[in-house]
């Protein structure tokens, strides 16, 4: 029994030690402005080819351009997130960035505790009080939000125009308002170009695990493809990898999310709705550098270049020129405010 305790204690120590290990080379950039920026990643971690990698690229670009020191922390499960933010705040970083909506509460708390440290939350979700008014984030916290509904609207319109079916599919991760935003925009886009089309929307679950269940994603997608759907848009993290697998198996199409996901299933990825997390992170670091950082809510949409969809050599053959021209028109109408895309179901 005592031996077991010793083993467990040793493992715990090793575990705690590994928590703060970051990739070799990261954080050790050239001397420059002397700014220190800390980034805490979401559960997906580095190499998710999406959100976290976007934040990493943005921070690295800032490191190269301005000589900023960047410190990365990749937490394990649960409470490590707050510990990561706290650690960076206590080290007197000039800016601490939390990547992912899951940081919302932790960021709010930590920002109140360290009023002299600047914070930024990617996908920060605004809370409402009892009377339904939006609670503003603390003054030292920049809430970085994306207008996902605008990009989802465009890929919805695209799916309806090239899908050859009156049924369109949507697979969401966790059943929460943030993901409903993707669904609402997608639905609106589909209906805009094809009023009699229907959208089948399904969610993988009601816990954060719903973003990491490719087996479930594959079964949801297979049942949609079988019911006559030809294109599925997913907003479900690595659950979506199962959607791509189903697209490969059935020879149908899927639309990626957050980053260009063409490589997941070449030939079966119609496009991807991209969120320029790299751009946004870079932008905030630049604001700190030039002294223009302000707390508050930032929304990045089509107009700000924070949202878009992939149209390049890989998928040009799947998107006829007339369709692409129509999408450009729709995009400019959204930017001009002529089309107002709904944000909830």
């Amino acid at each position: 029994m005592r031996k077991l305790f010793v083993v467990i204690v040793l493992l715990l120590v090793a575990h705690l030690g590994l928590l703060f290990v970051h990739p070799a080379g990261a954080g050790a950039t050239a001397l420059g402005t002397g700014l220190n920026v800390g980034v805490v990643f979401d559960v997906g971690g580095r190499g998710d080819k999406s959100f976290n990698d976007g934040a990493y690229r943005g921070a690295e670009r800032a490191a190269k351009a301005f000589g900023v020191h960047v410190h990365f922390i990749e937490p394990g499960e649960g409470s490590d997130r707050e510990a990561g933010l706290r650690l960076l705040a206590a080290e007197k970083m000039d800016l601490v960035i939390g990547v992912g909506f899951i940081f919302t509460d932790d960021l709010t708390e930590t920002a109140k505790e360290y009023p002299h440290v600047r914070f930024a939350g990617v996908d920060y979700s605004l809370q409402t009080d009892d009377r339904g008014n939006i609670v503003q984030p603390p003054p030292n916290l920049a809430a970085l939000k994306f207008r996902e509904e605008q990009g989802s609207f465009l890929v919805g319109a695209l799916a309806a125009m090239v899908g050859h079916s009156k049924k369109l599919g949507f697979v969401g991760g966790m059943d929460i308002p943030l993901i409903h935003k993707f669904e609402a925009g997608y639905r609106a886009g589909v209906k805009y170009v094809c009023p009699d089309c229907t959208v089948i929307a399904q969610y993988a679950g009601v816990t954060p695990d719903a973003f990491r269940n490719p087996g479930r994603g594959k079964e949801l997608a297979l049942s949609q493809y079988q019911s006559g759907v030809n294109v599925i848009f997913h907003a479900s993290g690595s659950t979506g990898l199962g959607v791509f697998e189903a697209a490969r198996q059935t020879g149908k199409l899927a639309i990626g999310v957050d980053a260009d996901q063409f490589a997941e299933a070449p030939g079966h990825v119609l496009t991807s709705m991209i969120k320029r997390v790299d751009q946004v992170v870079f932008d905030q670091i630049d604001r700190v550098r030039t002294g223009t950082f302000r707390g508050g809510v930032y929304e990045y949409g089509l107009a700000e270049g924070g949202i878009g969809y992939v149209y390049d050599a890989n998928n040009r053959a799947m998107i006829p020129d007339s369709v692409h021209a129509r999408l450009n028109t729709l995009a400019s109408e959204i930017t001009a405010g002529k089309i107002i895309v709904p944000v909830s179901r």
């Binding site: 467990i8 190499g47 394990g76 269940n213 087996g215 049942s223 949609q224 059935t250």
Partner: protein, 293 residues
């Protein structure tokens, strides 16, 4: 939605449960608590992806997945049998260890803490309605369906199975007639590791990649199915199919939008509670389950 498509989807969802529940039954009948199924499954999935990637062949993946489950099964065995640690505590530790170890080696091998690259697997091109036929090329599906009767046969019809049941019910009596209690338990728990890992292997090879924590609680569902089946392999297997059918129903109903989605999401859980309360009588675990001496 044809009945065939429904059946096919149910079986695909059930395969990981069937493997894990069969393995869990074997270990628990020998007196070792199988809280570890989740960890075995995750380890199996990771080792399978690793083997399939570096071996360039899905059968290498299957072998590696089984090997990973064997190692973790023996680890659980050493901790609980040799060192007589609390089996629940060891089980939780094994599950947490599996999450950490797979993520660590995922990062080491592929430089990503999220998922592996694409690896060779079994699933093939399926178009149109031929979903049932499309399952034939995946040998793990057939193996999963075969695992349940195989374990039932082993437990009830072989000398080894008799010993497993004896050490699970009354180890002192088994020992008095010359049965090596520890050895029987080691074999049972190692086999349970291998079987549950095959469930994970199916997940990884069906997806053609490993993703972080991809078992997503399936081991616990298998554990529930095993208890639901009153520690009988066949009844446990049927419980797995029932759970999988409930999940399929949930997926299908969610698509129709006839019923509010929150209600649909509850179906598997409500069904489990109703079935547990109404259909299973008193559940009787093996008498020596969880006792370390």
């Amino acid at each position: 939605m044809s009945i065939f498509a429904f059946a096919a989807q149910t079986i695909r969802i059930a395969v990981p449960y069937l493997f894990a529940a069969a393995g869990g039954t074997l270990a628990e009948r020998s007196g070792i608590i199988s809280l570890t199924l989740e960890g075995f499954m995750l380890t199996g999935a990771f080792c399978a992806a690793l083997g399939s990637y570096y071996g360039g062949n899905s059968w290498v993946g299957v072998a590696c997945g089984m090997g990973g489950g064997l190692v973790f099964g023996l680890l659980h065995g050493v901790v609980t049998i040799r060192y007589r640690a609390d089996q629940v505590v060891s089980g939780v530790a094994i599950n947490l260890l599996a999450i950490g170890v797979t993520r660590f080696f995922l990062h080491l091998a592929f430089g990503s803490s999220s998922n592996s690259p694409r690896v060779p697997g079994f699933s093939t091109v399926v178009r149109g309605e031929g979903m049932l036929a499309g399952m034939l090329p995946d040998p793990l599906i057939a193996l999963g369906l075969f695992a349940v009767p195989a374990v039932a046969w082993a437990i009830y019809r072989t000398p080894f199975g008799l010993r497993v049941r004896a050490v699970g019910e009354f180890p002192q009596a088994a020992e008095s007639v010359g049965v090596h209690v520890a050895r029987v338990r080691y074999v049972a728990v190692a086999l349970s590791g291998v079987l549950a890992a095959l469930g994970g292997t199916y997940l990884a090879l069906d997806q053609h990649q490993f993703t972080d924590n991809m078992s997503a609680g399936r081991g616990y569902i298998a554990l529930a199915a095993m208890i639901f089946g009153n520690w009988d392999p066949v009844r446990g297997g049927l419980a797995c199919l029932l759970f999988a059918a409930a999940e399929t129903l949930q997926i299908q109903l969610q698509g129709t939008q006839a019923i509010p989605s929150q209600f649909v999401q509850m179906i598997p859980y409500v069904l489990t509670i109703v079935a547990l309360a109404g259909m299973v009588g008193k559940s009787t675990p093996p008498a020596a389950l969880g006792k370390s001496d």
